[in-house]
């Protein structure tokens, strides 16, 4: 029988968690309650004596200094409402898992698969609430009903003797093991019904390719040999659907597209990916020749570039949007620990050195009624933030760079970009580390977590819009500690040469990881019965497809088997041999010795027909808003500084460990009070070297309303500017493109698909043009193509968004530069030209207007400027450097001043500009390729000599008096404010 151990703080001890919940009830739900206290509950589903229970309660489960406990009796005393929240059966329970491990150690026993500990938490709320109010708190703050359940007790109805009855949320599966056979020899409607009902997300033409395959004589003959009938098994269908999913196969990026531009000029593009992305890298690499620093691009889980004589760098950025829409905490947590496994599974495996995170949300102050299945943006914000916090901090990887972008079209699907970089020795045991090889005979070994029903259909789920039938099993919780143990083990095994090949289990689970690795040997044979399960009752196809987290798949040479398995066991990591790689040409899956799937490798990986699509570009027309140039722009500047897209994100940044591993050089926060907005991060991954890694990004979805070509150009330029601001070197640089789009495939629900596809084409054209112009090879990327929400008549589509990330180096970190003004009397410069380009600007957003002219990037001029700036920096001539982006020059100057704790005087007449006669446009235009720089007075001449031949000007001076003062075109003051006043405007918005 199950027992409950309840643990709470002694009455004199402050309950910080309870207080935080009370504050969130007030802030998020706008309800007042007097107090909240919490009680941790451990439900121990094991037959234990009272001595054993007491030992557990007094030992691992409570802290004698501050906590008290009761066994099988309630601790709760004073409350108006008691809400207990626990996880649903089968949801990853990290606290429960740790509690079970501690129990096993303390009591010296090995619990059976059914003997578990389950964690839940009680919230004791004092306050004037009715049941509906308590339910609101439970549903909309404390519990996500997809993964958690709750019970509510009023003070009057609570049993103070027995409390909440002990109930273990065991997974109870009684279904017999079956392998279904599906007849594909059927009508079109029937094929589509199969695709829909099984969540295969395959189109009719794709289903017909399957139909034809299973009808082939040679296929039938071969199937007979392995004991399969003519019909497809569910295991086969699921494996095919996953392998062919948009998520895994990038069908749109590989499609044949007929593109018509605004003049009707037709172009045929055979694969956007090959033409523009791979094409750009090919061109850059061939121009670099001997200097080429790319080591491995587009072939592995992440891109690899060379770092120093002994190391290579690895970088990958992923998105985890769909799961984060349903469960922001779990979605973001699995997003970050998931992308960790990419560099870990690249080449022979790398050590992880930093994370990045970029989120796109609707405003947290959203006040309209919420459509079905949509969580409030504030809840998404906090859940995603916490997920990345737990994923990054607990894994010991510093989160060094990121941003948060707000636009209400992210209401339907938030975007959660997570990136991870790693470093690896160039050679391991004398062999190159960046290649992958599997030999026939190598064992298929799975390490790390166990398999459950979590994450089933993740790959196909994210290949669709969010709809009523979106599967809740796609939601899962990550377990950073199980993964951390596995990483410690794998890096040790790597250095001892105990495996030949490694890859991660992400989307598609074993089906994908083993399927991909089997391409190296040309076949595999795997028995699903051997796979370790979290609980009994999984069907064979579920074992193959489960996306349960924290797992890597390896190819282990038979002679290393024993040492590999022993090391795993010693380091507390589960490792299981599931089969072996062969060269039969077949993806052969068994269950308990009986074949359940046998697919031609060639068909599985190359059988998918190329999509044929149409794209038609019609440029949208927007006009500038009718607004006067104000006499005093001070209130406008304050409003802009307070806008969510511009304001300080310090509250989020502080909750991420950005310094672990000891190599921090430029942190996300800079300046006299450690709170200014750094442009990029610098860190030393090798502690006895002065060479630094620089990482930055650019993202500007608002410009997509005008032209996605310029949206991408600006994102690349912004990433590069941020990179250069801290002193990054143009030599050795690499870019990653992450596309998040709204569905560009035609259907009844999607009448403007051709326009969206044209937007995608144009974005790719810009990617090619600017990557090659700036000589930034693209080494990795990802696309997420179905960021729409459709329920009932309501459709919400995100603005097309590309995150462009840059990784590179600074040869000597001691030359790095921060963005804050440093010294009184330093001249202030603006580099680059300001133009009438306010289309898509934050300024025009104030007037709810898009505006006519999107910023355009002149790459040739910009690159010249960037080289000059780099020269000035390497000579130590730059004291501060800050990127001009959202909010333009006005915002960049103000941030430079208040981050340095110094005043500033600026004359707008001196700003190099083209055809602008308004102060507000000069201040807030978002023209690209501009910087605000301060220089020591003595270095003025040398600095100007370095910049010669570029557009730049000295426009002001850093002052002691903490006033920010800007003189306008007609010599009157257009902005005057105290820097602390401006800083407060910038800091207050998201200070929660």
């Amino acid at each position: 029988m199950a027992h409950r151990i309840e643990v709470g703080f002694k009455s004199a001890i402050r309950d910080a968690l309870g207080e935080k919940v009370r504050k969130r009830i007030k802030d998020d739900l706008n309800m007042a309650v007097a107090a909240v206290r919490t009680i941790e509950v451990y439900t121990v589903d094991m037959d234990l004596g009272s001595d054993e229970l007491t030992a557990l309660a007094a030992g691992p489960f409570s802290d004698p200094v501050i906590q008290e406990y009761l066994i099988d009796r309630p601790l709760a005393r004073e409350f108006d409402w008691l809400i207990e929240v626990g996880l649903r059966p089968g949801v990853t329970d990290n606290v429960g898992r740790t509690a079970r491990e501690a129990l096993a150690l303390l009591l010296n026993r090995s619990p059976s698969i059914d003997e578990k500990v389950y964690a839940s938490r009680q919230y004791l709320i004092c306050g004037d609430l009715d049941r509906a109010g308590a339910e609101h708190i439970a549903k909309d703050l404390l519990a996500n009903e997809l993964i958690q359940h709750f019970e509510i007790f009023s003070r009057a109805a609570f049993d103070y003797e027995r409390g909440v009855p002990a109930k273990a949320p065991r997974v109870r599966e009684s279904a017999a093991l079956t392998v279904e056979e599906i007849d594909l020899n059927d009508s079109a409607e029937e094929l589509m019904r199969i695709s829909r009902e099984r969540l295969l997300a395959l189109s009719l033409s794709e289903m017909k390719v399957l139909q034809a395959y299973f009808a082939r004589e040679d296929v039938r003959a071969q199937r007979q040999q392995v004991g399969l009938g003519a019909r497809a098994t569910d295991v086969e269908l699921e494996a095919l659907a996953q392998t062919w999913s948009e998520h895994c196969k990038h069908k749109i990026f590989n499609a044949a597209i007929e593109y018509a531009d605004e003049r009707g000029q037709q172009t045929v593009i055979n694969s956007l990916f090959d033409t523009y992305i791979r094409g750009a890298t090919r061109k850059v690499r061939s121009k670099l020749g001997d200097r080429d620093w790319c080591v491995s691009v587009f072939t592995d889980n992440a891109g690899i570039i060379s770092w120093d004589d002994h190391h290579n760098l690895v970088f990958k950025v992923e998105t985890h949007n769909s799961p984060s829409a349903l469960d922001p905490y779990g979605g973001a947590l699995t997003g970050i620990v998931g992308v960790n496994r990419d560099p870990l599974g690249t080449g022979k495996g790398s050590r992880l050195i930093f994370n990045t995170d970029v989120f796109c949300f609707a405003t947290p102050f959203y006040e309209e009624p919420l459509p079905p299945r949509i969580l409030h943006p504030r809840r998404i914000y906090e859940g995603v933030r916490e997920g990345v916090e737990h994923g990054g901090n607990k894994s010991g990887i510093p989160t060094v760079n990121g941003s948060i972008v707000f636009d209400d079209r992210f209401l339907g699907k938030p975007l959660v970009y997570c990136g991870t970089a790693g470093i690896m020795p160039r050679e391991i045991l004398g062999a190159p580390s960046h290649t992958k090889e599997v030999r026939p005979g190598d064992l298929i070994v799975m390490t790390g977590g166990r398999i459950g029903k979590d994450g089933i259909h993740g790959a196909t789920f994210s290949s669709e819009e969010l709809h009523e039938g979106s599967p809740v099993t796609a939601v899962q919780i990550g377990d950073p500690i199980t993964q951390k143990r596995m990483i410690d083990f794998l890096l040790t095994a790597r250095d001892r040469g105990l495996y030949r090949c490694i890859t991660d289990n992400g989307a598609g689970g074993l089906s994908s990881s083993v399927g991909e690795m089997a391409q190296h040997s040309n076949g595999c044979e795997l028995d699903l019965k051997a796979a370790p399960l979290k609980y009994a009752g999984l069907q064979p196809w579920e074992i193959l497809l489960s996306e349960a987290q924290e797992r890597m798949t390896l190819a282990v040479p038979p002679k290393e088997r024993e040492e590999f398995m022993t090391l795993a066991q010693n380091m507390g990591v589960e490792a299981t041999v599931l089969g072996h790689f062969i060269d039969s040409g077949y993806f052969h899956i068994l269950y308990d010795g009986k074949t359940v799937a046998c697919l031609d490798m060639q068909f599985l990986h190359a059988g998918l027909p190329r999509m044929q699509l149409l794209a038609v570009w019609k440029p949208p027309r927007h006009r500038d808003p009718e607004c006067a140039d104000p006499v005093d722009s001070t209130p406008l500047l304050k409003k802009l500084l307070a806008r969510p897209n511009i304001c300080s994100k310090e509250a989020v940044v502080r909750q991420y460990d950005h310094e672990v591993q000891g190599g921090s050089v430029i942190k996300p926060l800079s300046g006299i009070a450690n709170d200014g907005p750094s442009d990029a991060a610098v860190l030393r991954p090798v502690l006895d070297s002065l060479q630094g890694v620089v990482v930055s990004h650019g993202i500007c979805p608002r410009y997509s309303d005008l032209d996605t070509y310029h949206m991408v150009a600006c994102a690349i330029d912004e990433a590069l500017r941020n990179f250069l601001c801290v002193g990054g070197s143009l030599e050795g640089i690499a870019g990653l493109d992450n596309f998040c789009w709204c569905d560009p495939l035609p259907s009844e629900k999607n009448p403007d698909a051709e326009y969206k596809l044209a937007q995608l084409v144009r974005a790719n054209m810009a990617l090619y043009d600017y990557a090659t112009a700036y000589m930034v090879p693209l080494i990795s990327g990802k696309d997420s193509m179905k960021n729409d929400y459709i329920i009932g008549a309501l459709k919400i589509s995100i603005p097309p968004t590309v995150l462009f990330s840059i990784i590179g180096r600074i040869d000597d970190v001691r030359k790095a530069v921060t963005m804050d003004a440093k010294s009184v009397g330093d001249p202030v410069y603006v580099l680059g030209e300001t133009r009438d380009e306010l289309g898509g600007s934050e300024y025009f957003s104030l007037y709810n207007s898009i505006g006519a002219q999107v910023p355009a990037v002149d790459a040739k001029k910009a690159l010249k400027l960037y080289r000059s700036l780099g020269k000035a920096m390497s000579r130590g001539l730059v004291r501060s450097c800050h990127d001009c982006s959202d909010g333009g020059l006005g915002v960049a100057l103000a941030e430079t001043a208040f981050s340095g704790g110094l005043g500033m005087t600026v004359d707008l007449k001196k700003v190099p500009a083209a055809k602008i006669s308004r102060n507000d446009f000069l201040l807030f235009s978002e023209s690209q390729s501009r910087f605000v720089v301060t220089v020591a007075p003595d270095d003025r001449k040398d600095f100007e000599r370095c910049l010669k031949g570029n557009i730049f000007a000295e426009i002001g001076i850093v002052e002691k008096d903490p006033q920010f003062r800007i003189t306008g075109l007609n010599d009157t003051i257009v902005i005057e404010a105290g820097i602390f006043d401006l800083k407060e405007s910038w800091q207050k918005t998201l200070r929660f």
């Binding site: 740790t98 501690a102 500690i481 380091m571 310094e659 672990v660 190599g663 921090s664 030393r684 970190v813």
Partner: protein, 274 residues
Amino acid sequence: MSRKNIRALVVSGNGTNCEVEMAHACRVGGADDVDIVHFSQLLQGEKSLLDYDFLNLPGGFLDGDDLGSAKAHAIRLRYARTAHGESLFDHILTFIQQGKIILGICNGFQLLAKLGLVPALNGAYGTQATTLTFNDSGTFEDRWAYLTVKEKSPCIFTRGLSSLYLPVRHGEGKFIPGDAAVLQELQDKNLVVAQYTDRSCEKAVMDYPLNPNGSVEAIAGICDETGRVFGMMPHPEAYLHYTNHPRWTREPVPEEGMGVAIFRNAVEYLKKNL
């Protein structure tokens, strides 16, 4: 008696994550041999604590801090036996008796407190008298903190230091003594080694965010009565080079990071006393 080779051990595994920089700190501080040893190697008997002089318990999230910070690992250390049947906890007690030294940072400090290895008043090693729990803010925070260091403290790690500036990176750093008597004894015996303060580094402050977690008496670190076992929440191993300082691009900062002194003191102590 003096010995030349100082051997430092940094124990990793089960969720530690500052082992690399802590090992680097030991080297920069002058230790001759520095090994990062996975906890499982101690369990398997491949390595023995007793072969080392300086035990480092690095920061991290042992077992995810799932039962409270470092709690599950404290149980593991307490009850685990090596493949040779020896108690790891006995090894630690012997290690202390031999006059050797232990440094626990952040999660390592939480581990020392929950194992009762600090403050171990009147030599009661193994009896928990203090704890570290959730910050008053209820949130994890990464921020730099000024510390005032008690010069009268017996702590061998902080000799010659009167102040420090180091990052804190924790969600459970609020120090709480078991009762008023424990606090009194900590103060009487000068076992309160470091307290949160302001930029002047003169007296302890309770104001957030200078005191980032609401610690009682602004306590950031304590030692045992021998001064050889020391636990602290802020991270000295995160400030070894001047470019770690958050304002190195704007303020004159010495070449060597402030955290190095802690490790150099440790090594010098061992060189003189072992």
